[in-house]
Symmetry: C2
Subunit: 119 residues, 2 copies
C-alpha cells in the first residue's frame, strides 16, 4: 500500500483558506506521476486538516453529509505527496498516488473519462 | 497567437451538465503540454457554450458578475484543445494552450504556485 506524506501547513496557511457559504472548498486530486486529473471533490476545514495530518485524501461528501476518507470502502485510497492552494486560497490542489483501480466509482481511472464532442 | 479547437458537444452532453444553485459549474484549466493545472474558475451554461464554440476559455466572474473572456484584458488567453466532464457531470476539465505569461493575475504561470508547508 502506498504511503502519503504528512504535510505541516502553517497556522497562517490554514487560516487563510477561504470556504464557501457551506464551509467547503474544492479539492482537485492530480496523479503525481502521470499528472492526469483524477477527480475534484470538496473538503471542509476538518477534512483538510485530516488530509494534511494523515497524508491521505479525506473529503466531505455533500450527498451523504459526512466525512469521506477516500478508499475506506472501495480500497482506492489517495496518498498525498504535495499540496497547493491557489492565488485566492479558495481552491486546493493535491498531487497524489492513487491506490487500487482508480479514482472513479464507475471503475474508470479518472472521473474525467467522458469527452465533449465524443472521442 | 495560438488557436483553439471548436468542440461540437452534443445537445445531450450540454443538457447533462449539472449546475449549482447559482447556475455555475467549476472549470479546471490544465496545460495541454506540461499537464500542469493552471487555474480553476466557474462557468455558466452560456460561457460553457461560448468556450466550446470559440475554442477559448470563457468563464463567469463571480466577483464581477459578468462574462470573463480570459485574456481579453491581460492578453493571457487560454485556447482549448480538449474538453471533458466528470462522472457526475458537475465538474469540467479543459486541456488548453496558455498564451502570454501565464494564467494567474499575480504574474505566475499557474494560480497554484503556493504550497502548504512551504517549499
Amino acid at each position: 500500500m502506498p504511503t502519503g506524506v504528512k504535510i505541516a501547513a502553517t497556522p497562517e496557511q490554514l487560516a487563510g483558506v477561504k470556504y464557501d457559504a457551506d464551509g467547503l472548498v474544492p479539492a482537485i486530486a492530480q496523479d503525481v506521476r502521470t499528472k492526469d486529473i483524477l477527480m475534484m471533490a470538496w473538503m471542509n476545514a476538518d477534512t483538510l486538516r485530516m488530509t494534511l495530518d494523515e497524508g491521505r485524501m479525506v473529503y466531505w461528501s455533500r450527498s451523504r453529509q459526512k466525512v469521506w476518507r477516500k478508499g475506506d470502502t472501495s480500497g482506492d485510497g489517495q496518498y498525498v505527496h504535495e499540496a497547493y492552494y491557489d492565488c485566492d486560497a479558495d481552491v486546493l490542489l493535491f498531487l497524489v498516488e492513487q491506490d487500487g483501480k482508480g479514482a472513479c466509482h464507475t471503475g474508470e481511472y479518472s472521473c474525467f473519462h467522458r469527452r465533449f464532442g465524443g472521442e
